[in-house]
Structures are given as structure tokens and as C-alpha cells.
């Protein structure tokens, strides 16, 4: 299949499956769709690339690092990850330090 044919839309699931095989793309269509099912011709609603409207836009690592320094995690597993990265995180775990990730009892299975 020519790359130029990617500019067209498969009309049915059967055509989509055929196109996946010919392109060698690494995914499959669920078996619940039959080859005769149409691929709907939906009107495009493009999203402008860029920041989410209304939220604080952060563009640089320095700016983001500064924000994160002011918001250390209370989650003990994330706090351990931050310490692994060299960040100073206030100790908020019970006892003398934050438990290692594998130290706690598993969340499921046993009480």
C-alpha cells in the first residue's frame, strides 16, 4: 500500500483490517466488529495544539520544577520516588521514615 493511500478513509471494518495487514501496523480491531460494519464518516473537530484553556500554562523545566517544589507529595511511594530523584520531601510517614515501596502489605489479598 502506498503511503498516499493513508489520506483516504476505510469504508468498512473489513477494509480497515485489510489496511492494517498491508501496512503491518501493530494493532488489531476487536472481533466483535464484523467486516461489514461501516467506519463512520464523522465530521472532524480539530483541536488547536497548545495549552488547555483556562489552566496555568507551564513551558519550561525550571518553571515546572519550581511549582513542584512547592507541592511535595504526601503519598509515601511518590515521596520515595522524589527522594530517589534528589528532591527534598518533608517526612510525613508514621515512624522514623517513609516506608520503602515494597515494605507495606499488599493492597489486596491479605488483610
Amino acid at each position: 500500500m502506498e503511503d498516499g493511500e493513508r489520506t483516504t478513509q476505510p469504508a468498512t471494518i473489513g477494509e480497515l483490517r485489510q489496511r492494517l495487514r498491508s501496512l503491518g501496523e501493530p494493532w488489531t480491531v476487536p472481533a466483535r466488529f464484523s467486516d461489514d460494519d461501516p467506519v463512520p464518516d464523522l465530521p472532524p473537530q480539530p483541536v488547536d495544539p497548545g495549552h488547555i484553556k483556562g489552566l496555568r500554562a507551564v513551558n519550561t523545566r525550571e518553571e515546572f520544577d519550581a511549582i513542584l517544589r512547592g507541592a511535595p507529595p504526601a503519598n509515601p511511594f511518590l515521596a520515595a520516588r522524589w527522594r530517589e530523584l534528589g528532591a527534598a520531601v518533608p517526612g510525613t510517614a508514621e515512624g522514623t521514615g517513609t516506608p520503602e515501596p515494597g515494605q507495606d502489605v499488599p493492597e489486596w489479598g491479605v488483610g
Binding site: 488489531t28 463512520p40 464523522l42 472532524p44 483556562g54 507541592a71 503519598n75 507495606d104
Partner: protein, 557 residues
Amino acid sequence: MSAPSVDWRNRFGRAWITSVRDQDGSNNCWAFATTALVEAEVRIDHLLWSSRSEGDMVHGVGKQSWDLGNIGEAITFVEKNGLADPDCFPFGVAAALYTAQESNQSVTFLSPTPDRQGRTVRLAAQASVSLTDPALKKQHIDQVGPMATIITPPVDFGFLGSGVYVPTTTVLGPAHALLVVGYDDPGRYWIVKNSIGTGWGAQGFGKISYDANLLEPAGFAGLLPGTTNPDPWCRRRMRNGALIQGSNGAARNNFELFVRRGMNIEHWYRENSTAAFTWNLVGNVRSADPWRDTFHDDALDGAAAVQSSFNRNYELVYRSTFGQMRHVFFNQASGWWEDGTLFGPGNPIGIAGFVQSNRGAPGDFEAVVVDSSGIAHHWSKHNSFPWTMAPGTWYDRGVVASNVVSGGPGLVQSKLGRSGLPENGTGELHYVCAQTDGQLHHYRLDTSGWTHLTSFGAGADSAPCLIEGTYGAHDEIGVGNFELCVAVGGTIEHWWRYNAGLGPWTRSAVFGTGVRRVIALIQSTFATDLEIIVENQNGIYQHWWRDGAGWHPGPTI
């Protein structure tokens, strides 16, 4: 340096992502992605499963099921109004005129329940960030948590099954919002949670190749650590007795404790955002208003506490010198303790089992009170429609058990027997008590009334404390295990029951000495540690907690 791969579906040996939903053909993907983001961040901040309502968000921002939306406006709505649970206002594709303000007297089926203020997860102001640099997005996902995004995928995107998605066409479909739950640099793909049911991708989650270049140019929205403030309604099963993990304090997770000293109930708190973990006395439970100062110096025993969906009020029930249980509450709006009423059988003993149940919204108050003859009585108070009894009236619902040693915080509103979400009045009450044969007896209230399920243990000479925790639950829907602590011959026994498989009760630990009874048990935000408050035989209260290394004695209070 970000980790080469992150997958919040299973990270640090735990699950962090709530169940996959279905937007049911609506245009509300933006609300589903943002709701999933809030749920994930509550889970990460507080190790707490929380189910939030996409319907509350869609209609709260003034839209309907056919309306497109934006993640930014959705987050702004949550920052201003909080986000309620599905039992407060569920998602549906039907049109609804809606305000996120409480409905008060003008309740209609298009309104949230009157207790919305007490059942919303709140967000701090400036809780969110927007990122476009793929390296910063990965840093956020690694160091903070999942992120929501909106992309414009090609038309074949909706048919992804297994495998890593690469478009077969450049023909674009509609814009679509997703939750990005991870990435994998070696495999060169992002991991996303969709909202079109579990039939899409692998059980609702999909892998999108970096080569597709779909997520790279898109804006990602994330919530910063510690910005979520969960409501007591989502914590209600994880605690019982005199101790509450509320939302006060810098980390929004302080402990609040109510213990009897002399003839009064004292309110203590532990500031959990500092490593010192000191306990501090707030004062006696009594009204600061002299015209309402009708209750103090009348406590004959300890209090059972609930933080209710009435605006996060504290509700206490304790044995009073007036010969019955007394209900008092702390009004968060006025800042005053106020008198409820006396209720229950005459001559009660011990501590009441006391919960806010699933029936109605605000949920009813349910209490199991043991009298001096050893009879455990079930009493209820309607807090909302349908009123089968007059508002404000506690009424007798019959006997739970006989030959009970003493009253204790052994009553739980379980997820067992629940049919799904919204819970809407479903789910069983469970009660465990020690009886005169020395065994612990487990009872259940379902539609046929209270029935005896099983008995376990030996030598129990005090009332147990029972919770339904999160061990055994993989997501917000799963039923967690029962956890129970009880004093037996001066030591503490910890028992648990695997509820998902209806397993037997198993004793996991024996610890402590000189303990009279267990008055509180919670599963806390500290890596889901178990925490108990015991009353020692010398009258001193003590805190114990359990982590992966076992049970540890905490300070006396």
C-alpha cells in the same frame, strides 16, 4: 530524569486508576477524562478510592450530553464547586436543568441531593497545570500522576483492540478527551484510559504509538500533589469509633479524636502534615453559645463518631446520664456544637455502633445500642425522603442479637449486597459483637432482616471495632476486606475477612498488653496503614498503627 516507563494502573505494587466508564454516545468525553483525573489524584494523594459523577460536572458547567466541552472549564468548575458522587447526581444522557448549589427545599429529580456540600471532593485554587512539552508531560506523569488531554484522532481510533495504535488514515474524526495513565519509552507508546466502555482497546485502556504523533502536540492537564480534599462520604467505610481522618490540616488529612475524660467528651486532633505527629487538645464537646449549652458533664462512656454528609459535620453518639444515648453534632457552618436528641433503649452500656447509611441522601443514621440485659437494638433516624417516620425521629428497628458483652463500634455499611453505582439504598449493614460465650458473632442486615452469619475467636471480653477497608479491592467498585480489632484478655487481636470471596475470618496478629477495649479503627492515608485507639486498663488512651513491618505502639493521649 523521568522513569523510562510508568503505568499508574499498577505502580508501586498497587492500583491507582478507577474503573473504565462509558459516555454512552454523548459528547461528554471532556467530563469523563476530567472526572477520571480527579479520581486518580484523590487516590494518589490520599490512598483512597473515590467515585465521582461525570453528570455533576457536565450539568454543573451548564451543559448537556450533546455539548462539547473543555478540560479547563471542567477543572475550574471543580475548583469552584467541588465534584459530587453519583449518588448525589448521576451521569445520564437525558437533559437536565441543574445547579451545583444545594437544592434545599426545592428538591426535584433534576437537582443534586441536599447534602451535596458534604459529599464533594474539593480542589484547592490553582490546583492544575497545563503542559505541552512532552518531556514535562512525562515528568508530571512520573512524579505526580495521570494527566487529561484532548486530541483529534483519525477515524479508525475508535476501533482499537489490542496492540499499539498507529493511524491507518489521515482522515480525522471528532476531537476526543482521554486520561493519560502512563508511557513506555522502550515500546514508544503512551497508555490512555478511554471512556467508551471496556470493549475498546484492552479493557478500556489503549496504547498509542509515539509515531502516531497524536499526544505529543496536545495540551495535557494535571493536578498538583496535595490539592485534592476528599469528602467524608468516600472515607466512611474505612473508619469506625472515636477516630476520624478528616480534611483539616495542611495535608488535608488530620486525625480527629473524641475520647471521654471524666464526664465530658474531649476533642483532640493530630496534625498529619508534620513529622512530629503531636496530638493536641481542642477542648470539651459543648456549645460555645450559652443558649445552646445543654449538654456537658453527662457522658458515662466513650463516643462513637461520624463525619457526615451534612456539610462534613461531626456527629457524636454517647451514653448519657439521662439514661439513653445522646446525639450531638458539630455544625461546620456555625462552628458550634449543637444538641441532637436522646434516643435508644434505656440503660445502654458501652459505645454505640454508629454509621451514616446508604438509605436516602443525606443517608440515614443507624445505631446498634446494647442495653444492660445484653440485648443489641437497632435504631435508625431518617435524614431524607422517603420519610416513613417523622423527620428527626429515632425509631426502634428491632433486635440484632442477645447475650452481648457490651456495645462497641462494630457496625458497618458494607458494599456487600450493593448492585453497583449509584448505590441508591442498596448494600448490607454488618455488625460484629462479642457475646457471653466468648466468641465474636457476625450479623448481617439484608432485605429479610438481621441474620447470624458466623462466629469466630475465643475469650473475647470486650466489644470489637470493625471497618471495611481497601485491602482486597482493586478499584472504587470492589468490596474491601473487613478488618476488626478487639481486646481479648488484655491483648489486642486483629482479624480480617476476604469479602470479595466471602472468605472466613482469619486472625493475623496479637499484640499489646493491659488493654481494656478498642474504641477506634481506621485505614489511613499513610500507605493504607491500619490505626487504632485503645483504652488501656489504667484508663489511658493509646494509639497503635500497623505498616508492612507490623503493629507499632504510638503515644498515649
